[in-house]
């Protein structure tokens, strides 16, 4: 409860608590192409209903997305039955949607009806090879002996991968492992004949591959469907259910390929699909490139600014408090140092159960990261004030408060400022990861770009973030010059 309150207070402080009309519905997505495309389709369906909607795309994984949904941070995202069944509910791989929905009731969420396609493991080979050998089902492979088979390392190990497959179908091959990203290229240039794929990969379209039917029903079912909160408005549920059974494997492959190979935006692909379905869409409202750059930069500054401000207040105050208590200072520095060693993405993930997703947990995580450099530099600077000056400050009759204000703090200024500067630069860098928990900022294009393997999109986030870091350095240099007499400047120049 208390963390929530703190969170709410921060939210209000940061000026994002918007009052007034009903809040927009929020649609989330995970950080891979298919999830973006399907989420964008949901968004456009809601817009077509004339309702306000907000995108919270690129969330960093199943647990983050599911927790966000359960906590009401988002209202819906697209999930796979097999994933929920195994990763969330621990029910094995064959649970039906209605069985899953019974188990999901206690979480306040449910699956709507699946889109139709099954994004699972599959075996694929070139269409010509398949035609030449008359292969359509996995069982057809059993008598084949001359085929070169290579599968991804993960597939080779997983129980629902190769070991289970040979047990079910009775192959006798011993394939070697290959990097998944290289397998398509290897198939295309003929250096291998068969590999494992995800059944809706856009590459299947691009390279003209044939997917063999899983005729013994071995692979678990990963049916995609909207996973929504039970309180989602009925009109929206109805709109989503129009898509029931309307996306088969081939359609999904085509939509994915549209983004990955044809360079279309998610919005364009989604709009194109809905138009084919005879569903009227409104013009996509996605912001233009400059607008989104401006928006992302502002969010980024807000994230780091608030976190840094808090870290300065707490770090300096704690530094002063701890400076007077030697024993405590070791403990505090140790804890702050420990916080620093938690990988940033893990710290962000740890925030979710307590603070949900979005801006608040991101700010808190950045705050914790900024704390150490400021705290450590404050303590070090206070400790390294010349003992003679400390003796004089006492002997001349300054009260402890006056000693701090007129002697210790000003003399520690160069060190403290250097700590703040380090913290600021670290925050700006780390804040790019905040996009994984839906906080936005310059990490947004980076996360999307990573999902799409789109360098120019990555750079749209990375370059402004780097420029911000450089600008921060320069600003702090200016601040130091303005605040400190020249001979006390401690910076690099």
């Amino acid at each position: 409860m208390i963390p929530r309150l703190v969170g709410t207070a921060l939210l209000l402080l940061s000026g994002i608590g918007c009052a007034g009309e009903a809040p927009p519905l929020v649609i989330g997505s995970k950080n891979f192409t298919e999830s973006y495309v399907l989420a964008e389709i949901l968004v456009q369906l809601i817009e077509a209903e004339g309702l306000a909607v907000e995108r919270r795309f690129g969330l960093g994984g199943t647990l983050i997305s599911f927790d966000a949904l359960r906590a009401g941070e988002i209202d819906a995202y697209v999930e796979y039955t097999g994933t929920v069944s195994q990763a969330i509910l621990g029910l094995g791989t064959d649970a039906t949607v209605s069985r899953l929905n019974v188990a999901l009731r206690e979480h306040g969420v449910r699956f709507l009806r699946p889109f139709g396609f099954n994004n699972t493991y599959a075996l694929a080979l070139k269409a010509e090879t398949a035609a030449a050998l008359g292969l359509t089902r996995i069982s057809d492979l059993v008598p084949q002996t001359g085929l070169r088979v290579m599968v991804s390392h993960e597939f080779l190990e997983r129980a629902d991968g190769w070991p289970g497959l040979i047990a079910t179908y009775g192959f006798e091959w011993a394939p070697t492992g290959i990097e998944h990203g290289l397998a398509y290229q290897a198939l295309a240039d003929g250096s291998i004949d068969v590999t494992d794929v995800y059944s809706t990969d856009g590459e299947l379209v691009r390279y003209g591959l044939t997917v063999l039917e899983d005729d013994r029903d071995f692979f678990p079912r990963y049916l995609a469907a909207p996973l929504v909160r039970v309180d989602l408005p009925a009109s929206v549920v109805a709109a989503f259910e129009k898509l029931e059974g309307s996306i088969d494997d081939a359609t999904m492959q085509r939509l994915n390929a549209g983004v990955v190979f044809d360079g279309e935006t998610f919005a364009e692909v989604a709009k194109g699909f809905l138009t084919e379905q005879g569903i009227a869409t409104v013009e996509p409202t996605g912001p233009g490139r400059w607008n989104s750059l401006r928006q992302n930069t502002l969010t980024h500054l807000k994230l780091t600014g608030i976190a840094l401000f808090g870290a300065i207040l707490v770090g300096v105050a704690l530094g002063v408090a701890v400076y007077r208590m030697r024993a405590l200072s070791r403990t505090v520095l140790y804890i702050a140092g420990l916080l620093q060693t938690i990988p940033s993405i893990a710290l962000l993930a740890l925030m979710i159960p307590v603070f949900g997703i979005g801006i608040v947990p991101a700010i808190i995580a950045l705050f914790l990261y900024s704390l150490l450099p400021i705290l450590r530099n404050t303590i070090t600077a206070l400790t390294s004030v010349d003992p003679l000056l400390k003796r004089v400050a006492v002997a001349m009759g300054l009260t402890p408060r006056e000693q701090l204000r007129y002697v210790y703090l000003p003399m520690s200024m160069p060190g403290v400022l250097a700590g703040i500067r380090t913290a600021a630069v670290i925050s700006i860098g780390t804040a790019t990861l905040a996009a994984f928990i839906g906080a936005g900022g310059l990490g947004d294009p980076i996360v999307t770009g990573l999902a799409l393997n789109d360098t120019s999109l990555i750079l749209q986030g990375a370059i402004p973030a780097a420029l911000l870091a450089v600008a921060t350095e320069l600003i702090f240099e200016g601040v130091e010059r303005a605040l400190l007499p020249r001979h006390l400047l401690q910076s690099t120049n």
């Binding site: 003679l388 000056l389 003796r391 004089v392 006492v394 002997a395 001349m396 009759g397 300054l398 009260t399 006056e402 007129y406 002697v407 000003p410 003399m411 200024m413 400190l484 007499p485 001979h487 006390l488």
Partner: protein, 243 residues
């Protein structure tokens, strides 16, 4: 001696189990300069810190102008006692003016009073007004020491504690500082305790001597008497440096 500024009776001070001052008993004349002479480690600086209430004695009693140094409200008490050290100990982030006038400002003096006193002290110590806005690192060692003395005198204290303030400068500068100090003493009759290891300096500046060795008083008395009648080999040794 009718009105001593400082009177010690059987004073001892120890840190942990180590006694650094033992059984000190002497009085210093008010309105005059007393030199505490001894080598390093003799407990001279600790003695000053007993007087300005940084430490309380572990044995015996101290009176400063007839009263024991207080255990609480010590900052207020210390503001009545000027303090200057070897190396001056000026705050590097403050100008000369700020260094000298800080306490007066905190005590709520008017700007006019501060400016008048500041100007007066610069004049007494032979410092040019143009130095007022400089930082300590822009001053010579001798100038820094003189600014340090100005700071100690700003609040017109009844007593001045000087912890080897003249020892970190070259001999010629030191002679200048001595002259300045005597000049100052002729104007402001503040009771002064001067800690030094230099017998020449003590003879020149002080009317009363206290010779300390390993935390004990070896001899004390008016300067002339001590010089004429050293009653210890150690004191004789010190006096040889005067030949």
């Amino acid at each position: 001696m009718i009105d001593p500024c400082v009177a010690l009776r059987g004073v001892g001070k120890r840190f942990a189990e180590q006694w650094v001052l033992r059984d000190l008993s002497f009085s210093c004349p008010a309105g005059e300069t007393t030199a505490i002479v001894g080598e390093s480690g003799s407990g001279k600086s600790t003695l000053l810190q007993l007087i300005n209430a940084v430490y309380l004695p572990d044995a015996g009693s101290i009176e400063v102008f007839g009263q024991a140094p207080p255990a609480i409200d010590t900052p207020l008490y210390r503001r009545g006692i000027g303090y200057a050290v070897q190396g001056a100990g000026l705050f590097p982030h403050m100008t000369v003016r700020r260094n000298v006038t800080l306490l007066a400002k905190l005590d709520g003096w008017s700007e006019a009073d501060i400016a008048a006193r500041f100007g007066e002290l610069l004049g007494l110590m032979g410092l040019d007004e143009s130095l007022a806005n400089r930082y300590p690192n822009q001053l010579s060692g001798g100038q820094q020491q003189r600014v340090g003395l100005c700071r100690a005198l700003m609040l017109k204290p009844r007593m001045l504690l000087l912890d080897e303030p003249f020892s970190a400068v070259d001999p010629i500068t030191r002679l200048g500082l001595h002259k300045q100090f005597l000049n100052l003493r002729s104007v402001e009759a503040v009771s002064t305790l001067l800690v030094t290891h230099d017998m020449r300096e003590a003879r020149k500046l002080a009317v009363y001597l206290v010779i300390l060795k390993e935390g004990r008083v070896i001899q004390h008395g008016p300067t002339r008497e001590v010089i004429n009648a050293p009653d210890d080999e150690y004191v004789k040794g010190l006096l040889e440096s005067l030949e």
